[in-house]
């Protein structure tokens, strides 16, 4: 889609969670670099220069075989949900626990609780194809929570949802923040940002143009 010499981000430097958990929104119009930033945080991309430090380590130096351990500490929620199509809601959430080595007992104990938190206890046996957009996203959030993450990264989680479901998802993310996790939310939804009244980092053409504690969406 983009030429190889395109600069997606430059001179981007910030700290999140230095003084405890935070709820940070990363905003900007399409093409500002939000998704690139998220991909960098998840080590799906590597920076051409600079470092990304998590837990005191530069994530670019994580070996391929250890990448899974790094990603197990981070819960992810995406605009396209990214659920496993051949697994039920229960199995999708349970999968995140299986990869961490959870026992069957732990899975049977925790997954129903997680589904209750996101309000999907009645949909446990359904496959993603039979769910609405909001239900799919709540499944994704339950899966993200299953790993008891220190950080939840949500890349345009409400991009495909109607206003009702959008509000539900944002409420859930705030609940997760209240439970002690850091939430990084990438979005271009003005209404969400203005309603949150949290830290906002604004990107434009790949650069940070604003970083405010109680930010608003300003074009």
């Amino acid at each position: 889609m983009y030429k190889p010499d395109t600069v997606a981000l430059k001179n981007v430097s910030f700290q999140i969670g230095a003084n405890g958990n935070e709820f940070v929104s990363i905003v900007g119009k399409s093409g500002a670099g939000k998704t690139t930033l998220i991909r960098l945080l998840l080590r799906e991309e590597e920076p051409t220069s600079g470092k990304i430090i998590y837990g005191g380590k530069n994530i670019a130096e994580i070996k391929n075989k250890d990448l899974s351990i790094f990603r197990q500490k981070i819960g992810c929620v995406f605009q396209d949900y990214r659920l496993l199509p051949n697994k039920t809601v229960f199995e999708n959430v349970a999968y995140a626990m299986e990869v961490m080595g959870a026992t069957d007992y732990e899975i049977l104990r925790d997954v129903p609780r997680l589904l209750e938190i996101v309000g999907l206890e009645d949909r446990a046996k359904h496959f993603p194809l039979g769910l609405s957009g909001g239900e799919k996203q709540r499944t994704a959030i339950a899966r993200a929570l299953a790993v008891r993450p220190e950080v939840i990264i949500a890349d345009e989680p409400t991009g495909n949802l109607d206003p009702y479901h959008t509000r539900d998802i944002i409420n859930l993310l705030e609940k997760i923040y209240d439970l002690g996790a850091t939430v990084i939310l990438a979005t271009h939804d003005k209404a969400i940002i203005n309603s949150l009244s949290r830290r906002v980092i604004t990107l434009d053409n790949g650069e940070i143009i604003r970083d405010e504690e109680k930010g608003r969406f300003i074009l």
Binding site: S68, I69, F70, R71, L83, L84, Y95, A96, V99, R143
Partner: protein, 281 residues
Amino acid sequence: MNVATVFVLIVTISLITTLFISEGAVKHIIAQIKEKIDISVYVAPETSNEEMEIIKDRLVEMPEVQAVSIVSKEDALEQFRERHKNDPVLLESLDIVGTNPFYASLNIRANDPEQYAAILEVLNSSSLDDIIYKVDYVEKKTVIEKLSGFITNVNTGGLLMALALGVVAVLVAFNTIRVAIYDASKEISIMRLVGAPNRFIRGPFIVQGMIAGAIAALASFFILLLVSYFLAPKIDAMTNGFNVFSWFKARAFGLFFVQLASGIALGVISSLIAIRKYLTA
């Protein structure tokens, strides 16, 4: 893994097994050809039957010799009459001659056509040289050499063709599995994002490869068993006695084991190689 993958594996395993069966048939035909090749050692007219038996015993002791049969003067005459029974002029000429003009001979069959020269060396350098009137090896030498060459070429050619076909079949099966795993590439990327270690992701695909390979081997075995049963009479007629169904039955256990092992190996190795691309970076 889907039906298409299993189907391609069945075709691959069946093709490789058919190559083994073909090799059996070719070996049978070559053995038949070798049976037809022999040389005749004609002995002097005054040689007695006892002397011929002694010569025969000495020849049979040679490791190169497979079989020796004695054709007496009377047998030779009878064989001539039988061969030319539709040619009354020739038979009349024989009657006019009055006596039996044929020589007794020893028909020698070697284990390998290339060994006739060695057998003759021994005969010529032994005390039997006085009794031997003539050996028809010189007349047959060219045919024997050509046949030996033909057999070697068939063996080499057959082996090369089998190898080439085998490689093609394996590549087709590998590509089919690669496409099946490509279909799952989105799922694999989700698994990686969720933090699944590579071995966790690889595992189910390896198992699927094993199962597909095992099912394909089983299906291939029974298909070939049935096909060989129904085609046996036709192939028997074409190859002058190679019963493919009996050949198959006699080797059933070994064949099934080889098919199962190669089916599973093909399924597993192809899956391992195909999925590697999606587990790096």
